[in-house]
Amino acid sequence: MTGLRLAGLMWLGLVLIFLYAPILVMAAMSFNASPFYQLPFEFSARWYHDLAENAAIRNAATRSVLIAVATTIIATSLGTAAALALFRHDFRGKRLLKLLLFPPIAIPWLITGTAMLIFFFAIGLGRGTPAVLIGHVALALPYVIVVVNARLAGFDITLEEAARALGAGPWTVTRRVTLPAIAPGIVAGALFAFAVSFDQFVVSYFLSKPGDSTLPVLIYTAIRKGFTPEINAVSTLIIVTSMALMLVVARFFSFGGHR
Amino acid sequence: MAEVSVAGVTMRFGEMTALDDVSLDFVNGGFFALLGPSGSGKTTLLRVIAGFLFPQAGRVRIAGQPVERVPVEKREIGMMFQNYALFPNLTVAENVGFGLRVRHVSRAEERRRVGEALDLVQLSGLGARRPRELSGGQRQRVALARAIVTNPKVLLLDEPLSALDKALRVDMQIELKRIQREVGITTIFVTHDQEEALTLADRIGILRDGRLVQAGPPREVYNAPIDTFTARFLGEANLLPDPLPVPLPDGARLSLTSAAAHAVRPEALTLSPGPIAAAENLLPGRLVSRVFAGSMATCIVAVLGETWKVVARDRDLPQLPENTEVWLGWARADTIPIDRA
């Protein structure tokens, strides 16, 4: 009995090593003085200095953050509105609308991304930051709707009815009763949206203009040209940021961790 | 079928002592109810007997064999759970046949015994259904069939009726009793419902804070509770105040033995607007309220600073306005002397 338990824990430990070891190695190498990851390890913050002076990376990072913030704002507001409508109202085609949320999540981004590329060219929008933003919002929307909907499922609709009985109009009911009650869901949805956009590579790759790309696209191009230690440093920064963000999400949203 | 005995069993969870030196014998073929409030240790005791928990001290015997270190799957017990714990992915017949399959019984034999068990619980013909397609009462019967089909040495029931509504629960109590008699299996039953325990069991054990307070036939425990907790937990008990006021009110008379405490059952009391000449014990009180409950009625009466209950058939209780002076009388034999307060 204890032998099996021990084996289980060891398996879990090995999986965690598998998941984290390469990330830790990368982080360590970003502090290694040798540009070719040569051992023995010699500490240096040189690549972080270089990073601060690399305008291309800085611009791409700024663009990535701005696009992620814009995506978060747009996707969260549109998604919350849609989730409210799906929760409150009963109408024909509601099941279909809910089903339509899955293609953007389930279809590989390679297909969605190339399809967007073709369509945006066909309508004359072409590639560039606006196209990237439109694509990111579309990818983030279903996540926001699903997450806010999950929170609404635990919301007691009689609270809205009580507020209406007290004379509050629809807008007041939404603003003073519903939105505060589902705020944690909205915050979680917003963080999901940010993560989807900030980590997005595939769709950005097809939609951004050369020289006008987001950070992941820049990293991919740099890796394909050959390894550069600055990329190592910026990758480390990205992964630390995303993981910190995820920890914040976890605080708002307990993933099956209860009981 | 076998007798079960528990001797000096102590079970601790960290700092918490769930069972403290509990000893109890369960006779062969008997129907035993373990009764107690929540947290009293009754479910822990059942799980120790089942083999889910290994006690830190003490001995558990099934059919004379010490089993306290034998895991549950090797103990040859049958168990029914509070929420039935039917396997949702298996049909009714597969649920009932699960224990037989584990024991490598032949398929033909399995079919025959599952059929018999379903007949016994009156669910013949529902073998192909899934648990979620059954009503609460039907699920309960499936769980019972599943627990007894392997001919276990002992049947353990963990509050099996608590998830049913009241009318269904009474039906199932009768049914459970019938099946237990028919099969003749030693049965240990955990409940917090004293009425259920009194109805079903031929012996009951009362637990409190991990200790066995009293065990015996229901009538004996009811009529001679060992302490005031048992007196009040098993049925209603009106306790005489301790110490009694001196002097007693005018017209009152009491004829008591020398015990630590005295109790009177609500149904032993006679309520009257005036003093009752024939009563060996008589106390004045004030009628607080009268509650009608169909054939029976309950009067709440303030007596010597205590709140007492009187229960009788509605037509035997006089109709009096609230706050009137009333007299409560009872026979000497109806005073229950209690050894421990």
Binding site: A85, L117, F119, F121 | -
Partner: protein, 287 residues
């Protein structure tokens, strides 16, 4: 939730829904339709050539064995990665869901799915650093083992598989964990009381009851892996040509968009077939 109709109710619902669904239409559904349309043209309609309707692009796929071979190679890659993710991830979810309790479980679970939300490109890149010839892994194994180690994993199909398993493993763990956690503990007590051992409980209860979660996880791995192109490019080197990379090439290198669209649609058909095949099991898990 059925509610009494309120005046203007339908209009209000439409007003709340329209922006989100218009956006999805504009950015996902219309593009997918446009791509289907394009896949039947001889050329992109915004070039100098005037396009004609044709089946040529699909004929290309069926007449050029290379494409079919690459699609098969991608499907095989998907099957391998999915199998490994299931074999590694399911026991892991089982340990998390049934063996560890309380705060430790919450923390470990979070630790397992944390990489899931970090940039997958960056994680693939980190494997490139680990697997490089004479890199960290080679050095570590050299130091630990008495004999000379030359793994030379970088730029091999194995490197691609490792990187993809690393990227998608958390999906299987997440979905299996959620399914396993939903099983009521009583059921295992009941099975033990009936005399069932560990193997029986695993085979007759745990596996069937968590199958929908396991299948969901497998689909979530298989679908994107069949369409992967970034991982093979970074870790596969000259072995890194798959169906996904061919599609990528049509759009960013060869600029044969109609062919790329046709290949994308063939990939989509494969994906939809997989989703269709698995949907009965998935639906059973939802009821």
């Amino acid at each position: 939730m059925a509610q009494a109709p309120i005046p203007g109710d339908g209009r209000r619902a439409a007003g709340l829904l329209a922006p989100a669904y218009l956006w999805l239409t504009l950015a996902v559904f219309l593009p997918l339709s446009a791509m289907l349309f394009f896949s039947f043209l001889t050329a992109a309609p915004f070039g100098t050539e005037s396009p004609r309707a044709t089946l040529e692009n699909y004929r290309d796929f069926f007449e050029t064995p290379t494409y079919a071979l690459l699609l098969w190679k991608s499907i095989r890659l998907g099957l391998w990665v999915t199998l490994l993710c299931v074999l590694i991830g399911f026991p892991c979810a089982l340990v998390l869901a049934r063996q560890i309790r309380g705060r430790a479980r919450e923390a470990l679970f979070l630790l397992v799915i944390l990489p899931f939300w970090s940039n997958s490109l960056v994680r693939v890149f980190s494997w490139a650093i680990v697997l490089r010839g004479n890199g960290v892994l080679d050095r570590t194994l050299d130091a630990l083992l008495p004999f000379d180690v030359r793994l030379g994993l970088m730029f091999t199909p194995a490197a691609v598989v490792i990187g993809l398993v690393h990227s998608y493993l958390p999906y299987v763990i997440l979905t299996s964990y959620l399914a396993l956690q939903a099983i009521e503990d009583d059921i295992f007590d009941a099975a033990r009381a009936l005399g069932a051992g560990r193997i029986t409980i695993l085979r007759r209860l745990i596996l069937p009851l968590s199958l929908p979660g396991l299948i969901a996880g497998a689909v979530l791995v298989f679908v994107p892996v069949v369409g992967s192109f970034m991982e093979p490019r970074i870790l596969g080197g000259r072995f890194g040509t798959y169906f996904g990379t061919v599609i990528e090439d049509q759009f960013v290198a060869v600029f044969n968009w109609p062919l790329g669209a046709a290949l994308s649609f063939i990939l989509l058909a494969v994906v939809l077939a997989i989703l269709g095949l698995s949907s009965p099991v998935l639906r059973r898990g939802l009821t």
